[in-house]
Point group: D2
Chain length 411, copies 4
C-alpha cells in the first residue's frame, strides 16, 4: 500500500489528534458510573471503549514498533484486549461491566499516556507503522459509533430513562414522498477497493461482480411505513418471515423495533421522544428488514447493488456524526448517514481477500460467518470515515445499532 498522500505524517497526526479528541468529547456527558455499566454482552461500557482504543495503539504500535516502550499497566491488556487470540487471555466479554476500576479518569490518563507516546514516536514511523496508525484511527472511529449505540443501550436499560444529551432536530420533519425506484447498472461492475488510502482489510481487493437488472429505492423505509407494517399484522404473520426470524419473533416476543414504546414514542439518546413518521426506521434486525421487504413485495439490495449505486454519491454527505449530541436518523437524508442499510448479502470474503499477518489479521477475517453485510453509514458514524466499500456486519438478530432498510427489486 502506498501511503504517500493521505497517510502523510502531518495529515495523519492531525486526524489522529482529532479522532482521539472526539472520543474524549463523547465521554464528557458521562459520569464514572455511566461509563462503567454494561447493559448486555454485545455492548461495552463507555470506559472500556476509551481504554480499548488506547490498548489498540499501545499493542499494535507502541509495544510492537517503539523500542523500549513499557506497557502502561501490565494488568490492563487483560482487561482491554477485545478478541485478539494472538494477544493472549482476556476478560470475558460479558464481564466488562465489572470495571469500576480503573476509573473513568484513570482511563483518560491512559489515553493521555498513549497519545504522548505516539506523538513522540510518530516522526520515526515507517510506512507500515503509519498504516497501523491509519487503522487505529479507523478502529477508534468504529468505537465512537459503538460508544453511542452502547450508551443508548445503557440508558435504555435504566427505568429512569436518562438522556445522553439534549434533544436536537426534534420535533419531526415534513412528510417524505413516495419511494422512487432508481435503476442500477447491469453487467460487470467493480466493487471493493485497492485504494492507496486507508481501507479495512475486508474491503479489499477491488474485484468484478455481475449485476442483474435491479432498482433501489431512493430513500429509506420510514417509521410511518413501519407502523403500517405493524398495523397490517406484520409481526404476527409467519409467511413474511425467514424461519429463523419467525423463531426469534416468537421466543423474544418481538412486536416492534427496539426502543419503541408502543405509544408513538421511542427511547433515544435524548431520552424518550415522539417518533417522527418521516424519519428512517431504525433499530431493526435483519430478520425484520427482510420480513418488511417481503411484505412490501420487494427485497433487500445486495451488497454489490448498493455499493455500485452508492459509489456515485459523496460518502462525506448526509446525516453523520460531526460532534457530541443526541444524534438520530432524520428525514431528508442521502445515501450515507442516518441508518446503516441491511443487505441481502452474507459477510463473506471478497474474491482474493487475504488476511493480514499477525494478530491484527484477526480484525475482520475471523468474523466471516453467520453475519450479514450493512452498507453506508449512520447518524453515529464519524463523518469522514465512510466509504462505499465499507462492510459493516452484524448477526441477523442484532438491532442495537442504527440499522435500517432501503428496498430493492428485480427489473
Amino acid at each position: 500500500m502506498n501511503v504517500a498522500a493521505t497517510l502523510a505524517p502531518e495529515t495523519l497526526a492531525e486526524r489522529l489528534s482529532a479522532t482521539r479528541a472526539l472520543t474524549l468529547a463523547l465521554a464528557e456527558p458521562l459520569s464514572d458510573a455511566d461509563a462503567t455499566v454494561q447493559p448486555m454482552p454485545d455492548a461495552s461500557p463507555a470506559k472500556w471503549h476509551l481504554a480499548h482504543t488506547s490498548w489498540f495503539f499501545e499493542t499494535f504500535l507502541l509495544r510492537a514498533v517503539v523500542p523500549g516502550y513499557r506497557v502502561y499497566d501490565e494488568r490492563w491488556p487483560f482487561l482491554f484486549n477485545s478478541y485478539y487470540e494472538g494477544e493472549g487471555e482476556r476478560l470475558a466479554r460479558d464481564r466488562r461491566g465489572m470495571l469500576s476500576h480503573p476509573t473513568l479518569d484513570e482511563a483518560r490518563a491512559y489515553r493521555a499516556h498513549v497519545d504522548a507516546a505516539l506523538a513522540a514516536a510518530m516522526p520515526g514511523f515507517d510506512a507500515a507503522a503509519l498504516e497501523l496508525i491509519a487503522l487505529g484511527i479507523a478502529h477508534e472511529q468504529q468505537h465512537q459509533e459503538l460508544f453511542l449505540t452502547d450508551i443508548l443501550a445503557t440508558f435504555a436499560a435504566n427505568p429512569l430513562e436518562p438522556a445522553y444529551a439534549a434533544a436536537e432536530h426534534w420535533p419531526g420533519s415534513a412528510p417524505v414522498g413516495d419511494v422512487k425506484w432508481i435503476s442500477g447498472r447491469t453487467g460487470i461492475v467493480e466493487i471493493g477497493t485497492n485504494d492507496e488510502g486507508f481501507a479495512f482489510d475486508c474491503e479489499r481487493p477491488r474485484h468484478q461482480v455481475l449485476l442483474a437488472p435491479h432498482a433501489i429505492a431512493n430513500r429509506f423505509v420510514t417509521n410511518g411505513e413501519w407502523q403500517a407494517f405493524i398495523d397490517d399484522g406484520g409481526y404476527r404473520t409467519p409467511g413474511h418471515w425467514l424461519s429463523d426470524g419467525w423463531a426469534w419473533v416468537q421466543s423474544e416476543g418481538i412486536t416492534a423495533p427496539l426502543y419503541w414504546g408502543g405509544d408513538g414514542t421511542a427511547f433515544t439518546l435524548a431520552g424518550r421522544q415522539p417518533l417522527d413518521p418521516a424519519a428512517p426506521v431504525t433499530h431493526i434486525s435483519h430478520y425484520e428488514a427482510d420480513a418488511f421487504a417481503r411484505w412490501a413485495g420487494a427485497r433487500l439490495p445486495t451488497e454489490a447493488e448498493w455499493e455500485d449505486m452508492a459509489a456515485a454519491h459523496d460518502p462525506r454527505g448526509g446525516h453523520q456524526l460531526d460532534s457530541v449530541g443526541a444524534v438520530r436518523p432524520r428525514a431528508g437524508g442521502e445515501w450515507f448517514g442516518d441508518v446503516w442499510c441491511w443487505t441481502g448479502s452474507a459477510f463473506l470474503p471478497h474474491p482474493g481477500f487475504r488476511q493480514p499477518e499477525g494478530s491484527v489479521g484477526e480484525y475482520n477475517g475471523k468474523f466471516m460467518s453467520g453475519q450479514m453485510v450493512l452498507k453506508g453509514a449512520s447518524c453515529a458514524t464519524p463523518r469522514g470515515s465512510s466509504r462505499a466499500s465499507v462492510r459493516n456486519f452484524f448477526p441477523p438478530h442484532a438491532r442495537w445499532q442504527f440499522t435500517g432498510v432501503r428496498l430493492a427489486r428485480d427489473c
Copy 2:
C-alpha cells in the same frame, strides 16, 4: 414448467413406486423401537420419516387436488407436519421421539393407504399436480438420506453401538495420490437451472455468475490428511478458525470429526469400524472444513466454482445410494457421491428466485438465513436424485450428515 417428457405419468408412476419402495426397504432392518428413538432435535425417528413423506403427498396432493379425499387420520397431520406454518400447528420438533404410537406397522399402513390413493388418482392429474408428484418424490429422496444419517445418529447414541447393516466395502482401499489442482473456468458462466425436468425451487432460475481464476482439488480431503491436521494441533490453534468456529470447538470440546473414537476407529452404519485413511473424511462441520482449508493454505470452493466444474460430470456416477446397506464414503470416488462438499457460500436466493405460492413455498425459501451451501451428493443420496444445481444447506456447526471437503484456491 413443461412436464411433457420426464414427468410423463408412466415414468413418474414408476419413479414414485420405486422411491416409495426404497423407503420401506430402508426401514426393513429396524424394529419398532429403533424407528421410534430421536437422538437429538435435528434428527427425526425413522418412523416419522416414513409417515412424514406420506403426509407430504396426502397434504399437497390428495387433500389439495383429489375431490372427496378423506384424511387418513385427523390427528396425524399434527404429528407429521414438519415445518409448514401454512398447514397449522404441529408437534414440537424435539418431541418426535415420543411417538411409540402410531407403530411402525401403522406408519406402513398409512403409506399403503396413501400409495393406493395416489395410484387411483394419478391418471387424472394435471400438469401442476404431476409437478407436485415430482416434488414429492424428490422430497422423499431427501428424507431417505436423512433416514440413514438419523439412524446413524440414533445408533451412535446407544452405548451398545448397534449396526444398521453388515459391513460392506471394508476394509480400506489403496492409498490415494496427491491432490491435483484442476483449473476452473474464468469469467461469466451460468449456474442454477431452468430445466423442464424436476428441480427444487431454490435451484432456479439459471443465471450468470462471474468466476475469478481458481482451481479445485481433484478429490476430497481424506481421513489420513485429517489425522495430520489433528496431529499438527489443528483443533488447538485458534488462528485456523473462524471466531464462531473457535467458540464452538471450545464450548463443545471438539477434538475430531463426529463419530471418531480416538483409537483409529469411527462409528458407522456397520457399527464401529477402523478408519480408512484413503477415504474422504466425513461428519465434519463447516467450521472444521474452513479451519482445515486455512491450515492447508487453501480455501473452500464457492458454490458457483463447484457447480460450474461439476456440471461436466455425471451426476449419476460415483458412490451414491443404490440399495439398503451400511453405506460409507470410499476412496476412488467422483464429483458426485461419497460426501457433500462444504462450500464457502451462504445459502441465499439465486438472483431472480421466486418462492412458490402456498404452503409448499415454505419448502426452501424460508431457510435462506444462517446456513451454508453444500454441493454434490453423498453415499446416502439416492442415485438419480443428484444434479449439479442441487443446493443442500446446513448450519455451519452441523455434522451428522455425510459432509466433507474438497479444497480450492485462487490462481
Copy 3:
C-alpha cells in the same frame, strides 16, 4: 437386624418371585417401542426399569456374594446403574431413551437369567445377603410405582394419548362430606422404625419427636375443592405462594394440576377421562399443595404428625396397587393409598441415622437435600410395601407422581 421371621428364606423367596412377576405383568401391555421412550429426564423408560431392577440384584447380590458369578453382559452395568457412584460410570440419566437395544425381550431374558441365578444361590445366603434380597424386593416395588407414573408421563407426551389399560372405577363416585378434623397426640411420641422386618435405611432409627397440638383432615383434598381454588384465582394470587413456587408458576405457566385438560378432563392411565370431583386431587407439586393450604387457612401436616396418626391405621388398606390396570385415586380411601401426602417436612436424616457401608449406602442418604417428604402410599404403590415410617421424597416442583394433599392445622 434379626431376619429370623419375615426374612426367612421361604417367605422371601415367595415375595421375591411375586414381585418379579408383577413387574413383568406391568410390562405386558407395552410394545418394545412403548418401553423405550423417555418423556423427560425424571422419568425412565419401562424397559430400563425392568433391567435396572435386575441390575440391582446382580450388582449387590450376585456379583457381590455369589462366587464365580459372571455378569450377564459386561456392557450392561453402564446402561442400568442409576446413580451409584461407587459402581462406576453410567449412561447419563437423560439419555435412557436411546436404548432401542437391548430390546424389551432381551431385558426380559436378563430378568430370567438373574432370577435363575438368585434362585440357585439363595439357599446358601447368609442373613446379610437375605437383607439385601429384602432391599431388592422393596427397591423393585418402588420401581413398580415409577413404572406406572413414568408410562403415564410417556403416554401423556404423545398427542394421540394412548391408554395403558382399560378404564376401571370410572365414572366417578358419590360426593364426599366436609372435612372432619382429627386431633393428633401432643407431646413426645415416637416415629421411624427399629423393626426387625424390612425398612429402608432412612426410616431408621425409631426416635422421639415432640408434637404440638394439631389436627389433620380425615380425607384428602378433592378435585372439586381444587377447582374452587382455581376458580378463586389461586394460580394468579402471589400471596398464596412460596417465593420459589410463585416463580415456578410464572416461568412454567402453571394453571392447573398436571394432566388436567381445562375441560373437565384429565389424562390418565386409561387415556383422557372426566375428572371425578369427589376423588383426591393428584399430580400436584409441593408448591401447589402449600399454596392451596394457605388459601384454605390451613397448612400441610409435618411428617411426624402424619406418621404418628397414621400408625394406627392398616398400611395394607385403602386403594393401593394389587394388579395391572389403569389405577387412579378414588373417593372413599383410607390413610394409605390413592395419593402420597405432601408434608411440610424437608427430607433430612432422622436423628441417629447411619448410612450403610458400601455403594448401597447411596440408596437414600445422599438425597437428603432439597426435597420434601411425602407419606403414605398411592394407588400405584404395591400393596404390602407400605409402612407408616416410609419416607417418600421429591423436589418441591415434582408432580408426575400420584401426589396429593391432606390438610392440617394448629389447635
Copy 4:
C-alpha cells in the same frame, strides 16, 4: 408485642440514627461507579442497598402511616422494591446493576429526606409503627452485612482486585488447639422467641423442641483443616457429598472455597491476602460444609442444638461488625461472630409461626423452601443485631456470605 422498654422512642430514635449513619459510613470508601456494579444476580449494588433500606422505611412507615407524606420520587419504588409482590411491579433482580442513575449522591439525598421525614413523624408513632421502626432497623442491619459481602463479590469480579479497606488484623494468628466437644442438653428445651424486644417474624414463637444426646465443637473448622480436606481429595471423592452437592461440584468445577487463589491466598475486603490457617474457613456452601463434616466423621449441628447451646453465650460478643473496615473471620472467636454456622436444618416455619398481615408479611415466610438455616453471626454482622434465635438462611450452594462450619456429633 409490648414495646415498652427496648422500643421506647428515645432508644429507638438513637438506634435508628446510629444504624442509618453506619450505612452511610460503609459507603464512604466507594465511588459512584463502585456503588453501581452488580457482580451477580444474588448480589446488589451498594447504591441499591442505600436506597432500598430507605424505600423500606418510606413504604412501610411514611407512606403507610404518615398522613400527607408524598413519595420522594414516584419512579423509585419500582427501582428499590426488592421482592414485595404486595407493593407492585419492580426492576428485575438481575438488572439492579443498570442504575448509574440515580447517582450515589442522589441515593444519599433520598436517605436524608427519609431520615428527616421519620424524625419529624416519629414522636407521633403508635406502638405498631414503632415496631415497624424496629423492623426497619433490623432490616437495614441485614443489608449492612449484605453491603459488605456484595462489595466483596463486586471487587472479586474485577481482575484488578481492588481493596475495600486497608488490611487490619493481618497477618494471622497463633494456632488454635484441637477441637473440644461440648455436650449439649438432652430432652425438651425451648428455642425461638416471644421476647418483647425486637425479633424477626420467623424467630417466633418460642417453642419446645426435643434434643437427642449430642455434642458440638468448641470452635469453627479452620482454613488449615480445610486445606487438609482438599489435600485428601475431598473435592474429588463423591462419597463425601450429597447428590446435589456432587452435581454442583462437577458442573461448577469447584475445588476450594470461594475466593481462594490456589496459592495460599484468598481475596478479601483488603484485597488478596495470605490465608490464616488458624482462622475459620469461610465462603463455603452448605454442600461443602456437609461434605467436610462427613469426611471428618461428624455432622452439622441442627438449628435447635446450636441455638440451645449458644443461648448461654453473649450475642454481643466475638468478632462482629463495629465499624467500617476490611472485616474478616479470625481465630479466637466466640459463639457469635466470624462466620455464620451452617446447620443441618431446613428453613421451615417454627411450630405456630404466623405470617404478619400485609406486604410486610412477605419478609421471611415466603422463603421457607429450598434453603438451609445458618445460626450465629459473622464478622460482617452489626454488633447488637445478633440473637441466638436469629435464623439466617441461604440456598445450599450459596457461598458469597461469610459462611462457615462448626462440627457436631451424636453421643
